[in-house]
Symmetry: D2
Subunit: 410 residues, 4 copies
């Protein structure tokens, strides 16, 4: 990027964690771009103190009014996680999209803060090989087509750990002892999940070492007795645990505790990145896994077959859109409109058994149930269903196959 | 059905298990239709002795040349289960289609035997409320458009247990003591799974009683130590367990033993039947669950993203076709052609950890791997990937979103 | 149907055209069911006088308060045709669903009138071989699960023309001279289209005789000079013709006049019926064909690619649902929610050239246009688009293909 | 690109038309890259003399053995156009993909020639704003992951017409008089179509001027009498015109003559490019339009409904893949496998009427027909179809809707 391009940027909002890498980025922006930096630190439930980020920002000369620390946990679960869960979204059959779903919210706040502070650019700490850069930037451009996006990892020459630490020391950025060496893997965390990838996880034949896990007990160490819980749903969203009403983030946090205890939600996956390569990740989604199973459970008795099958057919594309960063694209919104339309009557209670890695639906009931014992019973159904109808049903479904067979198998 | 319709049938091939219900059907066909009956009893791995069926058929006057008892286990797994597993098929998100996939094979043999014996009709013991009647009959019509199908449960007046037993006794059919009362639930079994439904399972809020399970240990009673296994794949199909080459049916049987031991593959589901009602079933698919996870595991490193995502998008429709009985329909064959095309290089070894209900992929390797450590590494990648490319990639993916935003959010 | 079943019906609402067939049905219901009959005659723009239907009903003893004649033209176009057109729906690539889309509205009114008049059944004149019986009845059951549906053509023994006319004469129903012989084909008409099928059209190799057409000039007889028109759209729906604001039905009627004049909208199709057979039909959809092309034209400049492609992927299923009679099914409503979400900005003006069977979009403009001459121009684009971005875009899109090639083509 | 990068290229195969632009590219490669150039000129039926390209290449010092001129017309139609037509592919509802489908074949030959001549790079003359660069390069990388691709329009500084002509004159490249000024639009042509875009076409509200068309008569100037033709199909591909057997390219050429005469196949489209912008193009696909309609016509009577509807659902994605340049991607090949599987019995004769822009199917017949007059007839069907079956068919299809209505509309 040319010097004049740098000169264009007067003020940049940085997604700032307070950690070493984004601290280096903060300083680098000040030095290389010569611009004002606004820091934005989000509490998405990652389980870290945020106030140290404020202190560090101040140390690097950021004025109070340019330091934003927001608790986004409720918005995250209510407006991003739950809508996604309504779709039963799993990427490539398994992944609950814990990292993917957080990025658009961060970008949304970056753009809002840019508007509030009159900034003309945003910056993030994602690398040039991953999906997160795409997710951050597509969301940002969708919300502000004229924003400038600075992705230092794609621009700078601090491409080795040594160079990064040299830069930090040269600019009086404190380097924690445990950051001096190479970290054995990289993580991302929020209220929905923790992901780990890189280094020790890079050989997909090697089992993930136990020390990688931070959010779940090893199932082998989980309690020997199962635990039963209930989750209540209304209009497709969870509203209570064991009969106690809870806000979205509170509910997910409580499920995380339960999932952790019982070793639920570990996933070892080799997935296909949007940028074209395969990568191996370890995901821990303790509460999300329980919630996802419960949501399918309540849909089983309250959702019509036509709606349920359409949802299943649309889901892979919906999940791909979120994975690829297209949360704010019209086609994701269209799919959401269809999905949300189906959830009006998805309410009731699901009972689950939690035991050593398993979260199994064992019961479901609902005032909106479409399940009809009168129809399905092996007993006398008092005329609810006329078995003779099945003959005609089969005959007409078979007609085209018989015409085919007459032609082809004659 | 009129007497003249009955008179049309000279010889019928009956899917005959040797149990009370199909024995009554056998006799009823002789009495009501006045026709010759050919019995067909298939070994699909349901784990029952088949010779007693021969003896019973003889007792009812069926000559030797009209008694067919076939071991179809290898054909079942090789030509039906494995092709379906290539698609990662799960109906309504979970069900591995264990009953659905067996029906077309039975119909295929019924039609073959009808041709061999000059029969003009087939008969089955499925009820008028379920999916199996549809599956049997659609397959039969697809293979022989002129066959007559007799479904006694839709025709006769033996609609209560008492009437059935009276008929049996009147015709000297032995009624086992445990069949005198009402069975507390109904089951279907083959090498892939055992399903249970009805009676005690009809309230979807009530947890399935432990005595319903026959194919799996309760996870709580499973071994306290995990067990590691490997499965080898070639062209999308399993070929070896722990390095030992096995035929399809042998492999599935061995996985069933492992799954049973570790309590794997239980599923409590409320599903949507093709005939329009919801039903609650309990499925046990011990080996199938392990196999399905392993297959996804090997695809993770050997299948291209475009192929994998297309498979995921097609899967719900493919599973629905099998569930609804359209195995021999052109659209199922078209989807199979697409799926099989993708499996050419799906080979290698998957390592799984089995533990108290969990079957987790913990490693995978392949000579055909598309996973490139060189590309994905956090370390220096020696130029395999140019991070600057990501900027252009994002810019052009974002272009339409920016044009939208310029219009809509200006 | 047993006598007792007949006795169950006290009052039935009949979809009554006033023609011979439904007059016979009216009488037959009175005679066979011994029930009160309520007649419902809808003006859907079929171009026939409706008052004669009132007179005939009276002649058969129907009291005034049981004769319903409704002008549904605006509701038909506004709430059924236009929503369907938003989806660009064409069944099997071509058919604009003119008959299919009218049936749910008729059923809706039948059920409403049944509620108003305390009737417990409805009746229609569709035969047992066609799709219309399915459409009428699925819609009726979806709106009133307990309604009884009487389909005389599936019940009675008036299966030959002679028997029907005998019945009519026996019951003093006037038989028009031109109805004495066999009609050479059968038609259905409404504001959207006229369909013709049967008899002289039954051989799909024979060209449709010219006398079958009633709604369009032969293109060879159409004016030798083209005519240019404009249609204005707002939120996905047509609102004006040549700059003159019009209601939905008025607009469609005006387009029908234009389409008739220029010989537009003839379609000779062999289609697949829901009941399993193929049939050959001739459709004339003069205004609908023009409208459909215009709608695609305005979408071209106002709809985002992601939205447009998702609509194209969903369309075949959406069209199939309407064709099969599932207008009031949840999955149709879900798709509609997605489609409608996309139409918010679909507004502007389309210019078409009408000439001897052709309706060609030749221009489109919109205040909501996403078309950017600045981006697409071959001229200097003043930096709107950086061609260098394309290199990275291609490189990352190619990455998975290169990894595949390294494995497979090495 | 750095000098050292240039130095890496020793020999490059250039897609060379012989026109001014690719002649400038040829020289520019010699000058800037200092590498050997191999020229490849394909006859894809674009209707231009190719020998002048040889002469020009020689003039610029290319030795005979490095000049490749290939007639690819039969391969183009047989292996690219016809397989695509089997899918009834139309991009965004209308576009027959005439340019898109030619690019992978050109790339395939570029890579083959690179292998034959030991070249390490290929070059093409597509600009950085269009789809063709993507199509050329994705195909090339899919066939040779290590090839270098040179796209001069993304690299050089000859970005104005003046600069280009200055360069040409400086290097003794002849500049035709009509190339001195700006061309009023840009074209691409092959046996399937001619596309025109740019300049005078850039305002989507302005009707395309008549001088833009080169492949079709104005319908207004087409013959006043219609012409009837027949096309015979075998296994989904056209094999004869009016009963005369023809090779693929010969058939398409003959249809082009007919289409031109009758003014068939003009399309004015605003489409969405893969690179993110909308563009307006004028397509002329005279023979292709006739062929596409005929193919649908023969499918109407020979393809089962399940197969036909699956094809319709898959088509938009298939067309998008071709449009975006993914011909050699696994997912396109999977879809092709499914499509080809459906075409085994797609054979017979279609009769069309050609008249002033219209190509209408008016008849179709086949030894493989699935159309059954016995089933569909309004006359007595001799028991082929039992209308009573429809009652059961409707009842079970309605069951879920009734259960819904009982819950929701009670």
């Amino acid at each position: 990027m040319s010097a004049s391009a740098h000169a264009d940027v007067k003020k940049v909002v940085l997604a700032y964690s307070g950690g070493l890498d984004t601290s280096v980025i903060l300083k680098w922006l000040q030095v290389e771009y010569g611009c004002e930096v606004v820091t934005f630190t989000a509490d998405l439930g990652q389980g870290e103190e945020l106030e140290p980020a404020r202190a560090k920002a101040k140390l690097m000369g950021i004025p109070d009014e340019h330091i934003f620390i927001d608790d986004l946990r409720e918005e995250f679960v209510r407006d991003f996680v739950f809508p996604m869960m309504r779709a039963n979204a799993r990427y490539e059959g398994d992944y609950l999209l814990g990292t993917s779903i957080a990025r658009p919210l961060i970008s949304k706040r970056l753009i809002e803060i840019a508007r509030e502070t009159g900034a003309d650019a945003i910056a993030h700490g994602a690398t040039g090989k991953g999906n997160d850069q795409v997710r951050f930037e597509l969301s940002a451009y969708a919300l502000d087509p004229n924003v400038k996006v600075i992705a230092p990892w794609r621009e700078w020459d601090l491409t080795s750990r040594t160079a990064l630490i040299d830069f930090a020391e040269k600019h009086q950025i404190q380097v924690p002892k445990d950051k001096r060496g190479e970290s054995p893997f990289s993580t991302d965390a929020n209220l929905l999940h923790t992901s780990s990838e890189g280094k020790v996880l890079e050989d997909p034949w090697e089992e993930t070492p136990d020390y990688v896990y931070s959010r779940t007990n090893n199932p082998e160490d989980a309690p020997d007795a199962p635990e039963y819980i209930t989750i209540d749903f209304e209009k497709g969203d969870g509203v209570a645990l064991n009969g106690e009403a809870m806000s979205p983030a509170t509910l997910l946090a409580a499920l995380n505790d339960l999932g952790k205890k019982h070793g639920i939600g570990r996933l070892d996956l080799v997935e296909n990145r949007f940028v074209g390569m395969k990568s191996r990740g370890m995901y821990e989604t303790p509460g999300g896994e329980i919630y996802a199973r419960a949501h399918r459970g309540i849909e089983q008795i309250t959702l019509d077959r036509g709606a349920a099958h359409l949802k299943d057919e649309l889901m892979p594309k919906y999940a791909e859109l979120i994975y690829n960063g297209f949360w704010f694209a019209p086609e994701r919104e269209m799919l959401q409109a269809a999905i949300d339309h189906s959830q009006e009557k998805v309410g009731g209670t699901v009972r689950l058994k939690l035991y050593k890695g398993n979260a199994s639906v064992v019961g479901r009931k609902s005032a909106n149930s479409l399940y009809s014992e009168a129809h399905v019973t092996f007993e006398d159904d008092a005329g609810a269903y006329d078995q003779a109808d099945a003959a005609g049903f089969i005959k007409l479904n078979a007609l085209r196959l018989r015409l085919l067979a007459q032609r082809d198998r004659g």
